[in-house]
């Protein structure tokens, strides 16, 4: 096996533009060797919330009378939730560690993510979510695996020098199953992994396998053997080089994310990391269990983001939380909730435009089983990440996801954002944002009528009214320079047709 050449950090340092400002960073082996990341250094970190996270108690429509009526025991009172948009939506109090990230405009919350005819079996729903397929299709490969195979066309005959994906915390299942092979490694501890693999390696294989089912299984075993051996050294080197810059709380998820951060700091050229948190299937006695889970989640994510900031890789990393389904709005007789349909997914990153995407859950429009309709197809989330963040060609993404799905406006764009459907009232994120100087505030009215565009600070104090008039349907634009304001985050609200849309404005 060709070990990665150990090119020692040279005495001379080279300035790079990673992270904010101009910093002297040591040369990395990868940079010296001339290899470049196939995703331009972009990394996706997925956090799987296993069991079906109760979205309604995570991103809470706390003033909706229907919410209060359906959850006599489980409802979270307004005084407890962390308000996000002045009176309609609040976060579960356990998510307090995420508030700084929210205020910086780095947390995007996509509401009611799901797909048509959602399957309420954990097992099947998880497979659907990981396979990127529709409810009716049975697909045994993972969408991430198919995407990775498009990035690395030589795989598996030419194994990439570094793992394409690294998974912790749960068994691989189909998520890394590609059409051509297993596209990632499962590693719980980089340090011991290296020793175990190397002490037990028996060498490469030159003879072909027999053309029988047994031969196919042997072939699979050999490929795992070979991948483990090849990557053990790579992973150990990256773990040796990387460190954590901040302390992490004491939870399994935090432990996983700490290792991910360490490997990222060690410049491992892996575009995808998978971590998981179990326990969300709260059929009974939900309140404390859910609070504890979200507390672990928020603590781990906050530490991870702080670590990325400290190491200067915050621009490169996007974190996505997923769950196979949400839970039923009405609580059950055991102070818990049964399986439901759609639920919010979180996106965290420097490249996120931040804010709530979608409207309050439609508790008046539940289906025959008492479950919520969806607002965003989960494949839209994946598709937007792949095209908008990773820069994968749309045609490739359509192949990966078996079709094309509308983009969602959660990524920071300095150009013209994706247009929403014309009959929908929408407030675009102001541009440039964050920034200084004059900003453009664009909004679209689904129907003509009175519209009011205002700016508030995060305590809810009114700062400015940018527009207040009867306007026709269609696109409108206002320009305003907020430079006189104190630095920080502000909330832009559009009130029109009895609905409110919000967006974040960051003043530097």
């Amino acid at each position: 096996m060709q070990r990665r050449d150990f090119l020692a950090r040279t005495g001379g340092l080279l300035a790079t533009t990673w992270g904010a400002g101009s910093v002297w960073w040591p040369l990395t082996r990868r940079a010296l060797a001339g290899e470049s990341s196939v995703t331009g250094n972009k990394i996706l970190v997925m956090v799987v919330l296993q069991g079906g996270n109760d979205g309604l108690n995570t991103v809470v429509p706390y003033n909706d009378p229907a919410y209060v009526a359906k959850r006599p025991v489980l409802k979270l009172p307004g005084a407890q939730v962390l308000d996000l948009d002045m009176g309609t939506t609040g976060l579960h109090p356990s998510l307090a560690p995420l508030l700084p990230i929210w205020n910086q405009g780095r947390l995007g919350i996509i509401r009611d993510v799901g797909y048509p005819y959602m399957n309420l079996s954990h097992f099947r729903a998880t497979d659907i979510m990981f396979s990127g397929s529709s409810s009716e299709d049975v697909v045994s490969t993972g969408w991430m695996a198919r995407w990775l195979e498009s990035l690395y066309p030589g795989f598996p005959e030419a194994l990439p020098a570094e793992p394409m994906a690294l998974q912790q915390g749960f068994s691989a299942g189909l998520v890394l199953n590609g059409n051509r092979g297993t596209t990632g490694v499962v590693v719980d501890n980089p340090v011991t992994f290296y020793n175990i693999v190397n002490n037990n390696y028996t060498g490469g294989f030159t003879d072909p396998v027999s053309q029988t089912p047994g031969g196919e299984e042997l072939d699979y075993l050999r490929s795992i053997d070979q991948q483990s051996f090849q990557y053990a050294g790579v992973i150990q080197d990256a773990a040796d080089d990387g460190i954590n810059y901040v302390p992490y709380p004491n939870s399994k998820l935090a432990g996983q994310l700490a290792i991910v951060a360490q490997l990222i700091d060690g410049q491992m050229d892996t575009p995808l990391y998978l971590t998981a948190q179990t326990g969300y299937d709260t059929h009974g006695s939900q309140l404390q269990t859910h609070a504890d889970l979200l507390s672990d989640l928020a603590g781990a994510l906050a530490a991870f983001v702080a670590d990325l900031d400290a190491m200067g890789r915050a621009d490169d990393v996007l974190v996505l939380t997923v769950s196979e389904f949400g839970r039923r709005p009405a609580e059950n007789g055991s102070a818990g909730t049964d399986h439901g349909t759609s639920a919010p997914w979180f996106l965290i990153g420097q490249g996120i435009s931040g804010g709530l995407i979608g409207t309050s859950p439609n508790l008046a429009g539940l289906d025959g089983s008492g479950n919520l309709p969806i607002q965003a197809d989960y494949r839209s989330v994946y598709g937007t990440i792949l095209t908008g963040w990773m820069g994968t060609a749309p045609s490739v993404v359509n192949d990966v996801l078996f079709g094309s799905f509308p983009s969602l406006p959660f990524l920071d764009v300095t150009g013209v954002p994706e247009a929403p459907p014309v009959n929908v009232t929408h407030l675009f994120a102001p541009t440039p944002n964050p920034g200084r100087g004059q900003r453009v505030f664009r909004f679209q009215l689904g129907a003509g009528g009175g519209a009011r565009l205002r700016v508030f600070d995060i305590s809810g104090r009114h700062v400015a009214t940018l527009s207040e008039a009867y306007l026709p349907a269609g696109n409108h634009e206002v320009r305003w320079n907020p430079d006189g304001l104190a630095m920080g985050t502000y909330i832009v609200t559009l009130d029109a047709g009895g609905e409110r849309r919000t967006a974040k404005l960051v003043v530097r």
Partner: protein
């Protein structure tokens, strides 16, 4: 009649109701319910208070290949979206019996499939016995293994007057017994006579997957394990009905919370989806809900189960097109009137014993056999193990060994004297087994969730494969790298002397492969193993009586365990 005797009578009557098994009502009649038993109610309340304070919630299902994907869809091997694998449509082989004698290669393959950790002398015995005799013996129940202790069936003590300290003390005792129970089963698998019974007990445990961390009470888990063993080679429908009201299952899937006033669908859904018909086989959400109502009212005190009248829904339910005042017995009856049930189970049996890619016609033929024999599983197993399809050379090495095959099977295969993970002082053996259970992702009595272990290629990834190698070679050393000697060690000298000719290096290596790989080695692997043994020596100089033979044999055995071929059977 004293009050105690009367309540004993009522309890016995309740148990009798269970023991008699599913009543075959000729027409829909609501079941007669026992009079509410005050003593039983107290025990139930006491039990529920204990477990609600201590146990974990049932975890979600992890993703992976389906426990039984829709018939005819691709398996992991095909890798694409529903279309057949690279070989094209899967051929049906049929179940014609194997004619003629068994070679030792046939026997090695067959026994590696039937028994966890078969021994070399068992291959020779099977050759001598012939196939029909061997299969007959494999399908014969050995004596029931002794319980791990009297504690395995003792009632849960009444804790209503206990202090917290006393309750915590009992908790510590129960958690220790949970570990002992896992070790007891591991040791049982490693010491049982050659039979399909223990393999089928493991199969049923995976099928009716129940987690000790969710159930909490070790007695409940032991009782379920004994139930599975009792019916392992028996009747599927009888076992299924018994599982419905098994104390551990009532806790695992919230059957005990399911009552008329607040139905809980967890159990009825999984009964349809995982235990009988299988997902997508034609039942609807309405069937799940109606079935849940039929299953209402059951509770347990951890040892026995009771039907409580006030909690039972006596109304009319429509399940799979049949309408009536159905109870648990009828729910099971209706499920076993569906063709899908036999098809589903036979698909699982095929994937467990034969191969990961069944042809629908082959499963169907097994299902017909199962139904024709009123759900007795022996005739189906007999068909499988007598078949040319299974015995033939085509399927050698096509099944990936699960974790139990390694940590329990190796102890059996190598006659490890001194192997006793139930020893509590020192704990090195227990720790060694526990570490493997965790490293391989197969903790006995703790499948990841109610759909069991996904199995097959899910066992092998970059984490589990190196660990399998690492722990296996410790048997040759008789120690892990860190701790004291285990107290057992693979006696390479004694084991090799069981082979056909320990002084013939080629035959020696082939026999080792039969044990380790379930088949003869390829020429390259054969040569590799011979080279490891001889270390440059000439073959005719090899003698097992040589003073240098033991370290050479140890190197040979270690290499065999480190080859990927070791993971297949």
């Amino acid at each position: 009649m004293t009050r105690r005797f009367r309540s004993w009578c009522l309890a016995a009557a309740g148990l009798l109701l269970l023991a008699v098994g599913p009543g075959r009502a000729e027409e829909p009649v609501a079941p007669a319910l026992p009079v509410t038993d005050v003593a039983a109610e107290a025990r139930i309340a006491n039990f529920e208070a204990m477990i609600d304070a201590r146990r974990e919630v049932a975890p979600p299902r992890s993703s992976g290949t389906p426990a039984a994907p829709p018939l005819g869809s691709n398996s992991v091997r095909s890798g694409t979206d529903g279309s057949p694998g690279p070989g094209g449509a899967i051929t049906a082989y049929g179940w014609q019996p194997h004619e003629g004698p068994l070679t030792i290669e046939d026997a090695a393959h067959l026994l590696n499939r039937a028994v966890v950790g078969p021994r070399f002398e068992e291959f020779q015995w099977a050759v001598a016995r012939g196939l029909p005799g061997t299969v007959h013996d494999l399908l014969t129940n050995p004596p029931t293994p002794a319980a791990p202790g009297a504690w395995a069936t003792e009632p849960v003590p009444n804790q209503s007057t206990w202090t917290q300290a006393m309750k915590d003390s009992l908790d510590a005792v129960y958690r220790e017994r949970q570990k002992l129970l896992r070790m007891w089963w591991t040791r049982t698998i490693a010491t049982e006579p050659a039979s399909l019974r223990e393999t089928m007990t493991l199969f049923w445990h995976d099928h009716f997957a129940t987690r000790m961390t969710v159930v909490y009470t070790p007695q409940s888990m032991y009782i379920q394990n004994a139930l599975l063993r009792q019916h392992a080679l028996g009747n599927f429908r009888t076992l299924a009905r018994a599982i419905c009201t098994d104390p551990a299952m009532l806790v695992m899937l919230d059957g005990r919370l399911n009552r008329k006033q607040a139905p809980n669908e967890n159990f009825s859904r999984e009964m349809l989806e995982l235990f009988t018909m299988g997902e997508g086989s034609g039942y609807t959400q309405a069937d799940v809900s109606n079935a849940a109502r039929a299953c209402t009212g059951w509770q347990t005190d951890g040892i026995s189960s009771y039907l409580t009248a006030s909690r039972y829904d006596t109304g009319t339910k429509t399940i799979l097109g049949q309408t009536g005042p159905w109870g648990m017995d009828d729910f099971v009856r209706i499920l076993f009137e569906q063709d899908a049930t036999a098809e589903y189970l036979c698909g699982k049996l095929y994937r467990w014993f034969v191969d990961d890619e069944p042809a629908p016609a082959d499963i169907h033929e097994l299902a017909v056999t199962l139904r024709q024999n009123d759900y007795e599983v022996r005739p189906v197993l007999e068909k499988i193990f007598m078949s040319e399809h299974l015995v033939s050379a085509r399927l050698r090495g096509s099944i990936l060994r699960d974790g139990v095959d390694l940590y329990a099977g190796q102890a059996r295969r190598w006659h490890l004297t001194g192997f006793d993970p139930m020893i509590t002082n020192p704990l090195w053996q227990r720790n060694w087994i526990t570490n493997q259970m965790n490293a391989y992702g197969q903790i006995l009595m703790d499948p990841p969730d109610v759909s069991g272990w996904p199995g097959h290629r899910n066992w092998i990834n970059s984490n589990t494969l190196p660990n399998r190698k690492r722990y296996s070679v410790m048997i040759v050393d008789g120690r892990s790298t860190q701790t004291q000697p285990f107290g057992f060690q693979l006696d390479v000298n004694a084991e090799t002397r069981r082979f056909r000719d320990p002084n013939d290096v080629h035959l020696l290596v082939d026999d080792l492969a039969l044990l380790c790989f379930g088949q003869k080695p390829t020429q390259l692997v054969h040569d590799q193993l011979v080279a490891e043994l001889l270390q440059g020596q000439l073959p005719y100089n090899w003698s097992i009586d040589d003073p240098d033979a033991v370290p050479r044999l140890q190197d040979l055995y270690r290499l065999a365990m480190r080859l990927p071929d070791y993971q297949l059977k």
